[in-house]
């Protein structure tokens, strides 16, 4: 019988040479006349160990990593296929501490299955949520999601059930489900991993959303920077259509739901929901005034559910195990789990799905092992380019929407970018303004003009021109952007800018 060998196809694993490793393993097995069955799984999200190769043994999957092509010959000599002792051996995958301590609900299958195999998906509890949903009324589905306490994982943390209920009760001859897959925040990759490594869970979540609100058409608005996700989504959609999980008659229920992937074109602001809808309609991604809410007048003027990838991908497990099951994870008003993405200057970067409540310090040191450079960690930016920089004194804050808000910080989409003590925070503040200027849609003045003036003011501060006066000006400008921008791009750029200034005044030339 052939032995299963897993080599990831996730783009981060590929970026570290997984393709060459896979080829080397196949060639070496061939040379030795060994019968292997190579499976290209997703990534477990332990990036310092990629390419992480696994072999199926009687005791479970056994891991090696990072495996380079030059290591393959020696691994086979040592008994690679039996789970051998070797300097790259990591033991049973499920026993790796980093993975074992996690609570993977949304990412339950990520790294385990062949992402585009419907058969694999079904044999790992896939489509159980949809089967339950098909037995419920739309209002009952919405109630499960409301009971779960799920809040929008894109960053705004709006209760998903309330949004769905608004669309359910809105009148319209056509309703839409739109998935916001324009994951542009630096330090985030959990949407990418879901779409590349378990695309069916997103498809299932969107199908359930369609049943819940009476929408028959869904769009996934995917950023163009994710070609592997594009390919896997399209392959999975085709497989789901072929087996009756998408199309005119979902699982024989008589209810239709169709899904299409649309590509963005490198505009960060299109991650803002109304800008995204404009883009889907074929226009420049200019932010819309709200109200009307997209739930009432969204895509093509019709009632629209627009949710982030992780929000939608969390729906299948909620419908499978019940809203109560999901709600029992977490703390306070932050219920369930958050896929945290540990990135930047960190020794052990990766995907960590945990219930809300874990602290930054646990993430940075217990999981992350400190900085990659070995220098002290000076700051972390949580929640993407519009998130605050958090200083060491706040590392004991639990990951919870309200606890972060109390520190004038955000959790956003769960990205944590680590900086060591060589970072200059004034330069980071300047970059935040520059990024806003590059990506501003231009509709509102505070963002369009404010960001450009912000770069100029930062340059003066960095060059020591009238520092005190220019810092006062920066605060004033930030106040205007914060309170009068149309959307979060201009409205939250002051978060990184002012947090850098407030926590690290020394970098701005203060005594």
């Amino acid at each position: 019988m052939s032995i299963k060998v897993y080599v990831p196809r996730d783009s981060s694993a590929l970026s570290l040479g997984a393709e060459k490793t896979a080829k080397a393993i196949v060639a070496e097995a061939g040379k030795r006349g060994l019968d292997i069955n190579l499976v290209r799984n997703g990534s477990r999200g332990l990036f310092w160990l990629e390419p992480l190769v696994e072999v199926e043994t009687a005791n479970g999957r056994f891991a090696y990593g990072p495996v380079k092509p030059k290591d393959v010959d020696g691994l086979f000599d040592a008994g690679f296929l039996e789970g051998c002792s070797h300097r790259l051996s990591l033991g049973l995958t499920e026993e790796i501490e980093y993975l074992k301590k996690q609570e993977r609900l949304t990412n339950a299958r990520v790294g385990i299955t062949d992402p585009v195999s419907l058969e694999d998906y079904l044999s790992h509890d896939g489509y159980r949520g949809l089967q339950n949903a098909l037995k419920l009324t739309p209002a009952e589905i919405v109630k499960q999601v409301t009971d779960s306490g799920l809040r929008g994982r894109g960053g705004a943390a709006f209760p998903t059930g309330i949004k769905w209920n608004t669309v359910l009760n809105a009148q319209g001859d056509q309703k839409y489900i739109v998935c916001n897959a324009d994951e542009g925040d630096s330090g985030t990759f959990s949407d990418r991993m879901i779409m590349e490594d378990d695309p069916f869970v997103l498809i299932e979540g969107m199908t359930i959303a369609g049943l819940a609100v009476g929408a028959t058409k869904g769009y996934i608005y995917l950023r163009v920077e994710y070609p592997h996700a594009h390919k896997n989504l399209n392959t999975a959609i085709a497989a789901a259509e072929k087996s009756g999980y998408l199309g005119a008659d979902i699982c024989g229920s008589g209810k239709p739901f169709d899904l299409e992937v649309r590509l963005g074109a490198g505009a960060y602001v299109c991650g803002e929901e109304t800008s995204l809808l404009e883009s889907l309609e074929g226009k420049r991604g200019l932010v819309r005034y709200k109200p009307p809410l997209p739930a009432i007048k969204g895509l093509f003027g019709k009632p629209t559910v627009i949710n982030n990838v992780i929000s939608l991908a969390s729906v299948p497990i909620i419908l499978d195990k019940g809203g109560d099951y999901y709600r029992d994870f977490g703390m306070g008003r932050s219920r369930g789990t958050l896929p945290i993405q540990l990135a930047g200057n960190i020794k052990r970067p990766g995907l960590i799905e945990k219930a809300f409540g874990i602290t930054l310090r646990e993430l940075l040191y217990d999981y992350g092992g400190g900085s990659a450079t070995g220098r002290p960690i000076k700051a972390v930016q949580v929640g993407g380019p519009l998130g605050s920089f958090v200083p060491e004194s706040q590392f004991d804050t639990p990951l919870d929407y309200e606890a972060f808000a109390a520190n004038w910080a955000v959790l956003g989409h769960g990205g944590v970018v680590v900086f060591d003590d060589t970072v200059n925070m004034a330069k980071m503040a300047r970059y935040a303004m520059e990024f806003c200027a590059i990506e501003s849609c231009g509709k509102c003045t505070p963002c369009r003009i404010g960001s450009t003036r912000g770069v100029e003011v930062m340059d003066k501060i960095i060059n020591n021109q009238d520092r005190a006066k220019n810092i006062a000006l920066l605060r004033d400008l930030s106040d205007v952007m914060l309170n009068s921008s149309l959307c979060a791009l201009g409205g939250m750029t002051p978060f990184p800018v002012l947090s850098a200034l407030n926590h690290f005044p020394g970098d701005f030339g203060a005594e």
Binding site: S15, F47, E225, Q341, G344
Partner: protein, 158 residues
């Protein structure tokens, strides 16, 4: 006889196959860029006419999005990530190295037509910073030395 140096038939084929989709503009622009490598200025009136919008509207959309380009790219397009996670791992040093090595700035193409250089704001490879992508293929933990090796590999493929 067409005076243009781009393939009008290819553009018309893309437009005809996609124009009836709801919100067809971006799919058409992607289709043209996938086929020709860029969106020729001369295709703007064709798109405008097919979608029944003004040429200004089409131009506005093309220029709003960083990804769309109006001039032919080099044989290979290199995207270097400028975002925070890559900055934390010497991304700015890598940017400077890439520019110096290629002898061009962002949005330019080398004289031999081999490489175009573009900035990108996150490739979603933040667990392996700094990152670059070449023709859609992502590379992680790219040191200046590794960047030079990758360039050599890409040149060798050609």
């Amino acid at each position: 006889m067409s005076q243009s140096d781009w393939d009008k038939n290819a553009v018309m084929q893309v437009i005809d196959s996609l124009k009836d989709k709801p919100g067809a503009m971006l799919p058409i622009l992607h289709g043209i860029q996938d086929t020709l490598g860029y969106i020729p200025k001369g295709s703007v009136p064709l798109i405008a006419s097919a979608l029944n919008v003004s040429r200004a509207e089409v131009h506005g959309v093309i220029t709003f999005y960083h990804y769309f380009r109006e001039s032919p790219p080099g044989k290979h397009t290199i995207h270097v990530c400028r975002a925070e996670s890559c900055q934390s791992m010497n991304g700015t040093g890598l940017e400077a190295h890439a520019k110096a090595k290629l002898g061009i700035d962002y949005h330019e193409t080398t004289q031999d037509g081999n490489f175009s250089l573009e900035p990108v704001y996150c490739l979603g490879n933040c667990g392996c910073s700094p990152a670059v992508s070449i023709d859609g293929e992502v590379y992680g933990r790219v040191t200046p030395e590794r960047f030079d090796e990758i360039l050599d590999e890409v040149r060798a493929q050609a």
